[in-house]
Assembly symmetry: none
Homo-oligomer: 226 residues x 2
């Protein structure tokens, strides 16, 4: 699922860091468009083809408040103000005009991202995106799916769990004992070979991606990342 985002912001640097951060963090799940002036902003907003708008207030031409007010006459697209204005009255005015949230500069990209995801989830009934990536492998714990080179592969529950542990600890060696404790519990008294077997199946199922799982002699397994 790709989300269409409109960033109405005259500061080129801010546009750039948002694009970079969102693109990387989401694994290209955002299609980001820009408007550099208020006039361009209102025009693009009215096209009504975006899933969410990030709106600066002080802009060349029409200001962000006005854009929000006009937009709310014809649409209830999610709107987050992102602005240097800290005063409470500005925030309240923003909410009064029907925005969904408000973040002040300088802001944390991680926080902005979290706000966007929370709002998208609420407005679209859509999923927050916490896809993990390692090389050609992608894992979505929310949907319990795995992709290698963007092609879905089916994994058994234990294989999925093993891969998830490896991806949560990219580069780190995980011992067989550690896998067993995490997945079978302390009281498991079976054969340690069981881990090998599942790793083998996991590698096979991952195809090319399986090569990223490295055996570390006498230590365990790790997920190699570049």
């Amino acid at each position: 699922m790709v989300f269409k985002l409109l960033v109405v912001e005259d500061d080129a640097e801010i546009r750039e860091i948002i694009t970079d951060y969102f693109t990387e963090k989401s694994n290209q799940a955002f299609d980001i468009d820009f408007a550099k002036t208020g006039d361009e902003g209102i025009e693009k907003c009215m096209a009504k083809e975006y899933d969410l708008v990030l709106l600066d207030i002080m802009l060349p031409g029409i200001d962000g408040f006005t854009i929000c007010r006009e937009l709310r006459k014809v649409s209830n697209i999610p709107i987050i103000f992102i602005t240097a204005r800290h005063s409470e009255s500005d925030k309240l005015y923003g909410y009064h005009l029907g925005c969904d949230d408000y973040i002040t500069k300088p802001f944390s990209l991680a926080e902005l991202y979290a706000k966007v995801m929370a709002l998208l989830k609420r407005s679209k009934g859509m999923v927050r995106n916490e896809i993990m990536t390692a090389g050609c492998i992608k894992l979505d714990p929310y949907r319990c799916t795995v992709f290698v080179n963007d092609k879905e592969v089916a994994l058994a529950p234990l294989e999925f769990a093993i891969l998830k542990i490896l991806m949560e600890n990219r580069g780190k060696v995980i011992s067989r004992e550690s896998f067993i404790i995490r997945l079978w519990g302390y009281d498991f008294d079976g054969n340690e070979r069981v881990v090998d077997n599942h790793v083998k199946k996991l590698r096979k199922a991952l195809g090319e991606g399986g090569k990223l799982i490295k055996t570390v002699f006498k230590k365990g397994y790790k997920l190699e990342v570049e």
Copy 2:
């Protein structure tokens, strides 16, 4: 329209100022209930009768983060954290657990009120009125009707409820336990197979659309939609 609000907060003064402000500002449009400890909070949340929860983090007993996590397993009720913890990592953790917004003490009552109203508008709009779509399936929660390829299909009430949960959480895997808590309540002590049975009937009733309901082995069910 009266909104039912739950305030989970151990500080009596804060509970009081919130109540006074919200009651006056909204002309008694809020029916406000309280929980003074984490344990009371989680119990009341699970009753599933509120429109929104304001959640303090540091509480006697179970903490707010835990309440949020548990709650999100069975509900997507709007949650706003309201806490003295300012750190970015706390905020991000809150969003990670699925909260909708976050406000730090000391906070402006007007701003909290604005956030609550914005969120209620968003969540009510979505759940109550909008037709949900997933592939060839359309569900109108307001009219309680379901269409597959624009042809209406008749569903039993439980089948409808199951489909609605799946569509509200498109893509997300929902466990049998989660279905049971949502639909039968946490004190249900019958057989888990009951979910399978209703899913089976639901799939059959949906015909072609039934194929979108995927079994995730050892995890539950999800609605597949790309």
